[in-house]
Symmetry: C2
């Protein structure tokens, strides 16, 4: 009565994640999640009383790694140079492992913006830190006079966008080829780093 408990719960979470991401909360069917997990609907409700409760769990489980990634980088690096590099590298790596998370988060966030509020408060990310670093380097004439908020949004946008717009990019620009998309992402880490540095540094090779 202990051994398989965790395993089944994990199986359910994994299955639910897959289905929720693929179909969204409204498109997802409890039966489909049960099938995907290799169990039946009764057991599914036995573990998670309702669809909503199950979704909440999957959502927070998906949200946490994103926040973790950000905090990790912020604590590790201090100067703008390594901060940009570290941020982009960690972010793209995380996205490559969880390519559907951005769309998932964005979609459910747009549908139910309030749900995120708790998540935000419970996992406080210190975004002000990177903005202060940018501010200082702007004052020190090391960086061009861009507003820190925009620079921050830019970096995230450059990393995340290809993953939420993948069908468009792959279909329009990359001959509808999965291989080309993988290559595209592969070379993108270095590209973003160069692109951002070229943009923000006053003296750049």
């Amino acid at each position: 009565m202990v051994k398989k408990t965790v395993s089944t719960e994990e199986k359910i979470i994994a299955a639910a994640k897959k289905v929720f991401i693929l179909k969204g909360i409204d498109g997802a069917r409890m039966q489909e999640i049960a099938d995907e997990a290799g169990i039946n609907k009764s057991l599914l409700h036995y573990y998670f009383r309702s669809k909503d409760k199950l979704f909440d769990r999957v959502f927070s489980d998906s949200f946490i790694p994103v926040v973790k990634t950000i905090n990790l980088v912020f604590e590790k690096f201090q100067d703008i140079d390594s901060l940009v590099e570290g941020f982009v590298r960690h972010y793209i790596t995380m996205l490559r492992e969880n390519p559907y998370i951005p769309h998932f988060i964005i979609h459910e966030l747009n549908r139910n913006p309030d749900r995120i509020v708790e998540q935000i408060q419970s996992s406080s990310v210190n975004l002000n830190r990177i903005m202060e670093i940018i501010s200082k380097d702007v004052e020190g004439h090391k960086l061009r006079p861009f507003k820190p908020v925009h620079v921050l949004v830019n970096i995230v946008a450059l990393c995340v966008f290809p993953f939420v717009a993948r069908p468009i990019i792959q279909g329009f620009l990359l001959n509808d080829s999965e291989t080309e998309f993988r290559e595209f992402i592969e070379e993108r880490t270095q590209h973003i780093i160069s692109f951002v540095k070229s943009a923000i540094f006053i003296n750049h090779p």
Copy 2:
């Protein structure tokens, strides 16, 4: 039997657009669309036989202005300088007027990538053109040696991302204030133009 026909159809389309964008295709209810349009369900089905057909119509109606915007700019401007400026200006303007279109398109595109294929073919956008222009200027040592595809994706990403990630940006970075978000978008056009030019031009002030 002619006068109000168009008007009612338009009312339905507008209502459907609103509901579909807000709730997604699965979350949308035909009754809600009818209510929103100020008619009843029977009439709704009288105009559009099924939810799917109605959705198809709304989707193509939403997709066309995006493509129109792009083509317009591409035909008008030739050199990279005015192309970047024109593209960003037109794109942000269009997005300000239709802030929910990106999320709508991206969401339904991820859920049903095939649906877009017809749209793509029927509204051929010539993206190669901007890529060729970038290529030439890279060869002419006017631009840094970035791959054109990435530069193109970057520009679109910088414009579009704030609109799909609005709840996050507004909540995390802008004190949850609508006013601040509007200001943010206001100043963003100029920011993106400067940011991109700084990044790509070898000699930039």
